[in-house]
């Protein structure tokens, strides 16, 4: 077996091991559009394959693959944004602190979250988040990466990921609050 073939097989094994996680992340980054997710994943897979020799530590493969996926997505978003001239609005530290201070706890958070139905409602709410917030909350809260790792994947400071996480959770809570309240009313009837 040639060195090239060995390398290709090693890549395919690593890729196969993390494929499901990469697929569901691509799916969420593409707001549930499976064709777009597959296209993003294929692009990322080919980039990863061509630079596989740069991966020195196999235990870092998962974060490495997610970094490639995140940055490929980021490039696409930036490219689309350039076309539409939209801008991103991250909070600076003082604005972040002000936003944190205004967080009003729910009276019954346990009851609230119990109403979230089987993930579908959450998936819809996630898809409505801006790209940066969705990526941050998915990587940290769902895939379990640290904020530092997510910051590296998205090429932003760690504080920016913290601020995005906060904003994402705030928006998710707002998005899920109304259906949860309706469900409680419906259950009481």
């Amino acid at each position: 077996m040639t060195r090239r073939t060995q390398s290709a097989r090693a890549f395919e094994e690593v890729f196969a091991e993390h494929l499901d996680a990469l697929f569901r992340t691509a799916l969420r980054l593409c707001r549930g559009n499976e064709a777009d997710a597959e296209d993003l994943l294929q692009d990322s897979a080919l980039r990863a394959y061509t630079s596989f020799e740069q991966l020195r530590d196999s235990s870092a493969a998962r974060a490495w693959l997610f970094t490639i996926l995140s940055r490929t997505h980021l490039n696409r978003v930036r490219s689309a944004r350039r076309r539409t001239e939209a801008t991103s609005t991250d909070l600076d530290e003082s604005a972040f602190e002000s936003a944190l201070a205004t967080w009003a706890p729910l009276r019954t958070p346990a009851e609230q979250v119990e109403q979230w139905e089987l993930g579908e409602q959450l998936a819809r709410a996630l898809d409505e988040l801006p790209d940066e917030l969705r990526a941050a909350v998915w990587l940290v809260d769902v895939e379990g990466f640290t904020q530092r790792e997510a910051a590296g994947m998205n090429d932003v400071p760690e504080g920016t990921i913290a601020s995005r996480l906060f904003r994402a959770r705030r928006q998710l809570r707002t998005a899920l609050e109304t259906p949860a309240r309706e469900a409680r009313i419906w259950r009481k009837q």
Binding site: R24, L41, E97, L100, V113, V140, A162, R169
Partner: protein, 253 residues
Amino acid sequence: MNCGRARRLLWPDTGPREATPEVVAAREHAAGCDGCTHFLADMHRMAEEIGRRAPRPTAPAEVRNRLFQAIARVRIPSGGRARSSRLRPPAIAGIVALLVVGLSLLGYLGVRGGSPDRNDALGSIVEDRLRSQRGAGLASSDSAQVTEWLTERLPFAVQIPIFPEARLTGARVLVDSRRSGAVVEYLVGERVLSYYILPGDGPGLQGEIRLASTNGYHVASWHDSGLTHALVAALPESKLVELARYCIHQMMG
């Protein structure tokens, strides 16, 4: 210490933090502040619930297959000089647009024994379009690599012409249900020049350059030794003829 500062300093999920005087003050503040205590609990609960309830679909088998096929296609034995990647959708769309123009002008599917069938031609184009969306091309400026890549995939030999003013950018295989052809792509300035090589003799005498044009694209085509060649670009006809002659000259050489 206000609530915003305390919450920022105690922001969860960041792991252990150094107990600086400010952090200690923030902890003291939070211990005596219901709002901050609730805030920290809320953040933990939100993170847990999102993680627990988020949908986790697995990659469908057909998606897995297509991904591994795409990876297999880029395993090119080369010296690693040229960059390989899947052609971008705009490039594919451009190729398909040129293919539509080129094939309709060349009567591609009407050659060699088969009667011209417009529906069949459109069917093949649509089929190729569908395949091209999932298929991989080769992006490379290395003519040896492009030749090798095409040779592995086609039943006939392909010679990659080198044009003095054109930069080679890559190639793709055209596939319909009956035969395979090739498209080699170049850039002339900022304009795409596509060189089609398709099995079958086109109309006209062998070696005779035929010109056609539509929608701003010009096509210079000729056939030789059972293959039809065509150059398609939004370039002046005289330029295209010059490039076609250059190409024929290299084939003969």
